[in-house]
């Protein structure tokens, strides 16, 4: 489904992503791990179009994503969350999720339709909006009582953990064919992390294709069909969680080795 080959991105001569190649198959759960500064988030930025590669190709359903804008890539069915929680602070929780459904709105491709729909909403437009609202509410309900009671609160008033949940809810509203999760449990305590683990397990059980960046290895071990290890921008190992764990290069990357500088991002 997703095929990445020879992918590189350099910033002023520093290779943040260096000749990376891997595939993600339909309904597969792939995790990317690696120390800070390994280039994981840059990789996500390249796939989602937030950043453009210096070299290499990214194919999604055999079609290239290179050169597309993030909104075009979202339209192809790729949704992502952000490492540091980018919710729309002044929008309510429900509105945040509704923005996630943007690519499915009929008016989203036609500004004139958008304008006329806003000024003179015909029944079809109202129905679409009502349907999306109902669906957004049901997505919120999947998080138990975490988000539903805060449906109308501005997202800026939420706790850190809840912002991460809103991000995931927003991503689900896109009906993604490929979901990119960037450290969904960062900053969460043990209970919250366990809850998130179950939630993601549920997504996997539904057959969703997921690419996950995560530092918490227990989470990675429990969820992943395959693990990719990155260090210094390059892929250093790939395989099952067990196989990767015993790979000497991975051990070295995690437990320290001689390295002059570490790029801290």
């Amino acid at each position: 489904m997703l095929q990445i080959e020879h992918l590189s991105r350099s910033f002023d001569g520093v290779l943040a992503v260096n000749d990376v190649a891997f595939n993600v198959n339909e309904a597969e759960f792939v995790s990317i791990i690696g120390p800070n500064g390994a280039g994981k988030t840059t990789l996500f930025n390249l796939i989602s179009g937030v950043d453009q590669p210096s070299h290499g190709s990214i194919l999604f359903d055999e079609k290239s994503l290179v050169g597309l804008t993030p909104d075009q890539i979202a339209r192809r069915g790729i949704a992502r969350t952000f490492q540091n929680g980018r919710v729309f602070g002044n929008l309510s929780v429900l509105e945040n999720v509704l923005v996630g459904a943007q690519v499915r709105r009929r008016a989203s491709r036609n500004p004139f339709r958008e304008l006329s729909g806003a000024l003179f909403p015909l029944p079809a437009v109202r129905r679409e909006e009502a349907d999306l609202r109902r669906e957004a509410e049901s997505i919120l309900a999947q998080f138990g009582s975490r988000l539903t009671p805060r449906r109308d609160d501005p997202a800026s008033s939420l706790s850190y953990a809840n912002r991460r949940r809103v991000e995931i809810a927003r991503a689900l509203a896109l009906h993604p064919r490929l979901l990119l999760l960037d450290e969904p449990t960062a900053g969460m305590n043990l209970t919250e992390t366990a809850e998130m683990l179950e939630f993601i397990r549920g997504l996997k059980a539904r057959g969703m294709t997921i690419l996950l960046i995560e530092h918490k290895l227990s989470l990675v071990n429990q969820l992943s069909d395959r693990v990719i290890v990155m260090d210094n921008g390059a892929k250093i190992a790939e395989g099952s969680a067990e196989a990767v764990r015993d790979n000497p290069r991975v051990v070295e990357a995690y437990l320290g080795h001689k390295r002059e500088t570490e790029v801290i991002r």
């Binding site: 992502r80 980018r86 602070g89 929008l91 690519v103 958008e114 806003a118 991503a171």
Partner: protein, 611 residues
Amino acid sequence: MDQFLRTLFDQTINGLVAGNIYALIAVGLAIIFGVGNLINFAHGSVYMTGAYVGWYCVTRLMLPLPLAFVAVAVVCGLLGLIIERFGLRGLQGASRIAPLLATIGISFMLDQLVQIVFGVRDESFPNPLPAFRIQIGGGSIGSIDLLIAAIGIGTATLLFIFLRYTKLGWALRATAQDREAALQMGVDVNAVNQTAFMLASILGGIAGLLVGMYYLRVDPTMSFQAGLKGFAANLLGGLGSIPGAIVGGLLLGLIESYGVAAFGLTYRNLFAYVVLIAVLVLRPNGLFSRGRRLPPEPLTGTFISNRTRLRVPARVIAAGAGVAIILPLVVRDPVLLQVLTNAWLFGLVALSLTLITGTAGQTSLGQAGFVAIGGYSSALLVLRLGFPFEVALLTAGLLSAALGTLLVLPALRLRAYYLAIATIGIGEIVSEIIKNWDPVTNGAVGLSRIPSPTFFGIEAYLPREIYWYSLALLLVAALVVWRLVRSPLGRLWRAVRDDEVAAQAYGVSLYRYKALAFAVSAFIAGIAGAFYAHMFTFINYDSFTSSWSVLTLTMAILGGLGNILGAVVGAVALTALPEVFRGLSEYRYLFYGLVLVLMIRFRPQGVLGAE
């Protein structure tokens, strides 16, 4: 051929001399941008103050020229300190657009103060230098050219020595490079800021004095253009770079000079603004940098925070509208009705701004351009093509939307701060085109005998008829904006405002939605301009100056950005207050500037709260 060479030589000298002055202004802006990360829009006003102080010393106090330079340096240096204190220091940590707006407010105040102190007339400024010219080949160089060149080279050298070899100079460079690190190393950042503003303002003031001597006159509207050109020069060489500012200034001077030789004197300003937009869009880091992107921007484009929003019940709003509608039946005072009619028209523009800047987060400082397009379109459609007013009004709105969006389109990929500056340039370009497109716009003469507004064939010319007509337009526009803001479209605009990157990653096409916001905003502003043209029956290039842009933005900020009722309340307050307090109307710009500075400092979310 000989004639051509002589012209070329003369234009090169002219260009270099003007360029030297732009460089002086640009260097000041660069120093301030370096340490404060701020484009100081009051810089043009400091420059004008310098020109007037110098003029006063030479022609009224009969001081010798060197003393005039000292006086200019002292006065402008002090001004610099004041600007730093009020334009920057209190706003550290606020959104980057806040100090920019504060300096615009300060420039309003300074401009009016200069006019109050020195009178509002153009003054001639006889050249106090010995009159001689050196003949070189076919051309000649005058004493003033030499003086300007000497001062240009002299200040560049002094500045170089100061930055390279003094402790304070090091501190200044350190702060410019990394403010936090400088602070940690014990650099007194406030002292550095003060020095930077003082130095920059002295340079700006001297530039003003030199310009007065060069063109033999000073005039009270010279500030805005100078500031913008200094900024264009600075941008050309790379924002914040001092050598870049010098080269950029000289380049801009040459571009203008050759442009004037090729196309005529009236095109002078147009070149600067086209250069401004082109550089912003194509090479935002200046001509000499590798094509890196602009420095990163804060996530939110404006200083929106909805925590303190005042909820006004619908009943109160309806009652207010009712009172406004009934008012002319009770009050017959034509002056009051005229003032309120102005308020409704300003309210329309403020509404258009609250939509684009408040809801969609795209700060526009060029709204006057949209108003002007509307005004001229409607007037021309009626005068030249015989359109009925009602049709012309709507067509003017559509034209303003189409042309306005087209002009903004290349700048849309810029983030908030730089977009705001691009819109100033766009507003000025519209005004320059109007000034120069004689066959259509009648150039400087303008359009007169524009027929009064009609409503389905019935002419509206009594004050209260005009009042009702404009009020109706405002109410309809408010209703339209209200619907838009509360629709899914409004939701997407607010998402773009809150976080562009996230919005785009979820499928929101930024170009499309920003362009749509500008189109609606320009439509409303265009309608206001059209009505204005027919109400006054006369317009020229001076009818829609950049002060419209700033004034209406002040209104929107006063009421609360993104707040529809706030835009109307802000417009009424700022239009009516100077009239209510008669004494104030003479100092209205002082008052507007003060309101802007105070609001941004103490209540950026506005009286009614941002939405």
